[in-house]
């Protein structure tokens, strides 16, 4: 590779990185400004215009800790269901022969291609109206309890485990559940981490569904309460943009930090195999 081409490559990548990161930088700067400053100079920190008040302001309008806790419960419930069902079905599809395996696999693929929005209205009628699960964590989690991408990732990993390993354990008299728990599960630990990270992003960032079924502020995930603030009460605050950006920083931080810490485990081939099946 010639020197010129290499310089061009880095120039393109760093220009791209700047475009991708600038809004985040600007979000943090904006959340710390006493007065919104949208001039070019406002993009640089100015000690005279720095304050933490926006964080206090947003916290007095929406309970940030409660919002974070609600987001955490929602995401935690979804992750738990996803991992438990994903491991069980992934193992069954990859390593066991049983009647209905083909149909189950076809269903896993089908679930993936039907867009959630077609199901949105009937799910709303069922969960909010028929089952009375509006303003309820269970109602929030239910539609996301099955995650076919996770099933496919686990299946892919379990397929890579040599069957002889399981057969040996069976000959030694181990039951299937024992095999799953003490042999199969430790072998797919990297897949577990990937699935947890991938699954976390979904419910943590999800807006539409919890927005539909939570009306009570104390139960709303942070994304929903922040969006409500953005559309309703923002106009009454002293520095509405500062407050919105402060809330945005609080909402963005956990996902961004987790991702940066574990980015090595966020492997492209997993996502590729997961989506492709």
């Amino acid at each position: 590779m010639s020197r010129g081409q290499n310089i061009l490559r880095y120039a393109v990548l760093f220009a791209g990185a700047l475009v991708f990161l600038f809004p985040f930088y600007y979000m943090v700067i904006g959340s710390l400004q006493t007065e919104p400053d949208s001039t070019v100079a406002g993009a640089f920190p100015n000690p005279a215009n720095i304050t933490g008040e926006n964080y206090t302001a947003i916290n007095s309008r929406i309970d940030l800790l409660q919002g974070l806790a609600n987001s955490g419960i929602f995401a935690g419930g979804v992750i738990l269901c996803t991992v438990v069902f994903g491991v069980l079905v992934g193992y069954a599809l990859a390593q066991l022969q049983w009647r209905g395996r083909g149909i189950t696999f076809a269903l896993v693929l089908l679930v993936q291609v039907v867009p959630f929005q077609l199901l949105m209205i009937p799910l709303y009628v069922m969960i909010a109206r028929d089952y009375g699960l509006a303003d309820n964590y269970l109602g929030m989690i239910l539609p996301f309890a099955i995650n076919s991408t996770a099933v496919l990732i686990f299946r892919q990993y379990f397929l890579q485990v040599p069957r002889a390993l399981f057969d040996a354990a069976r000959i030694d008299g181990a039951g299937e559940l024992k095999i799953l728990w003490s042999i199969a599960l430790p072998l797919v630990r990297p897949a577990l981490l990937t699935v947890v990270l991938l699954t976390f992003i979904g419910p943590w960032n999800e807006f539409l569904w919890p927005f539909l079924i939570t009306k009570e502020a104390s139960l709303q995930p942070l994304a929903v309460s922040l969006a409500n603030y953005l559309t309703n009460v923002a106009a009454t605050a002293a520095n509405p943009f500062g407050a919105i950006l402060a809330g945005a920083c609080v909402l963005a931080a956990p996902a961004v930090v987790l991702f940066i810490l574990f980015q090595r485990h966020f492997v492209s081939s997993d996502i590729g195999s997961g989506v492709k099946g």
């Binding site: 600007y26 949208s38 009647r99 209205i121 994304a223 953005l230 980015q263």
Partner: protein, 323 residues
């Protein structure tokens, strides 16, 4: 994937097969044949399958049922008559200019989002693939918008693209008037660019995975034959990642069809004048705000048929993929 169907599961009449010797008596042998070698698989899959029925299959059928009936919200437990109305809901949807416009808006969205996504994510992934220095930093930079909530970054985009926001300050007299998000021409393109920016990290990831499968020998052979970098990109890289491109096209289309949060928050519920409304936004407004779930269900059915048609066309145009 017919290869995954085990021989046991396709036996038409399992009782007709002789019991396997040593299978623990004839009764156990017969059950084992009928349920396959490891009936435990079914037990392990049962909770998942129950959920598929509850939160996927039943609502799917229910959506179609609603779209063909005069469905309205009633008190829980109340017995009400919801007569079959045939295609009346669909007629109402297709004769509503606001709904037609929202489908047109998705068309504008896709025309901007899909080519931008495919070209930029392939170029960035190709550039990133061979990078040695600052690899982690660059990866993280591109994926951060993808892992962040739309609701969080929407705030900063409103701030950036408002009338006297930073973007207009830099553009000066070139800035559109009225500003981007309240401008009838620019509202939808601005949303499309926002979504492209936000989702790009995921598509770069997909292309990075696909690039691992392109044979290094092809590049070496092409270099021996004197092909330039640009020629190699178009003759080896682009065809080599075709399966990924088909997938990117499909996922970008589905994203466009699912558009809700961005028009709802960036442009205050699909304004100005419906220029940035989306079908899902109207499903929410008609179905839940205005209490017409049957109309919303009909919009959903039309939307899904549209996605299926687009996916079919894209697959044909892209030449299909074997995986």
């Amino acid at each position: 994937m017919s290869t995954t169907v085990s021989p046991e599961s396709v036996t038409p009449n399992p009782a007709a097969r002789p019991a396997r010797p040593g299978g623990g008596g004839p009764r156990r042998g017969r059950r084992r044949q009928w349920l396959g070698k490891n009936p435990l698989g079914l037990v392990l899959s049962a909770p998942y399958l129950a959920f598929v029925l509850l939160v996927f299959a039943y609502p799917l059928v229910f959506a179609f049922y609603m779209s063909f009936h005069d469905y309205f919200f009633a008190a829980p437990g109340a017995v009400v008559d919801r007569p079959f109305v045939g295609l009346a809901n669909f007629q109402e949807v297709l004769s509503d200019p606001a709904i037609i416009r929202s489908f047109g808006n998705v068309g504008i969205f896709l025309l901007i989002n899909v080519p931008l996504t495919v070209v930029l994510s392939l170029v960035l992934a190709t550039a990133l693939n061979k990078v040695v220095h600052a690899r982690t930093f660059l990866r993280v930079a591109f994926y951060v918008p993808y892992v962040t909530a739309s609701v969080a970054v929407v705030g900063v985009w409103i701030f950036l693209f408002s009338g006297n926001g930073l973007v207009n300050q830099i553009l000066g007299p070139l800035a559109p008037d009225p500003a981007w998000l309240i401008n009838e021409q620019w509202a939808m393109p601005t949303i499309a660019i926002f979504v492209t920016w936000k989702g790009m990290g995921f598509f770069i990831l997909l292309y990075l995975a696909a690039l691992q499968n392109v044979s290094e020998e092809l590049y070496e052979a092409a270099a021996t034959d004197g092909a330039g970098k640009i020629r190699m990109f178009f003759s080896i890289t682009v065809p080599g990642v075709r399966p990924a491109t088909v997938l990117v096209l499909l996922l970008a289309t589905v994203t466009g069809a699912n558009l809700f949060t961005e028009p709802y928050l960036l442009t205050g519920g699909g304004g100005p004048n419906g220029a940035s409304s989306s079908p899902v936004l109207l499903m929410y407004q008609r179905g839940i705000e205005q209490g017409a779930p049957d109309i919303a269900a009909a919009i959903g059915v039309i939307l899904v048929i549209g996605v299926l048609i687009l996916a079919f066309i894209q697959r044909k145009l892209a030449g299909g993929d074997e995986s």
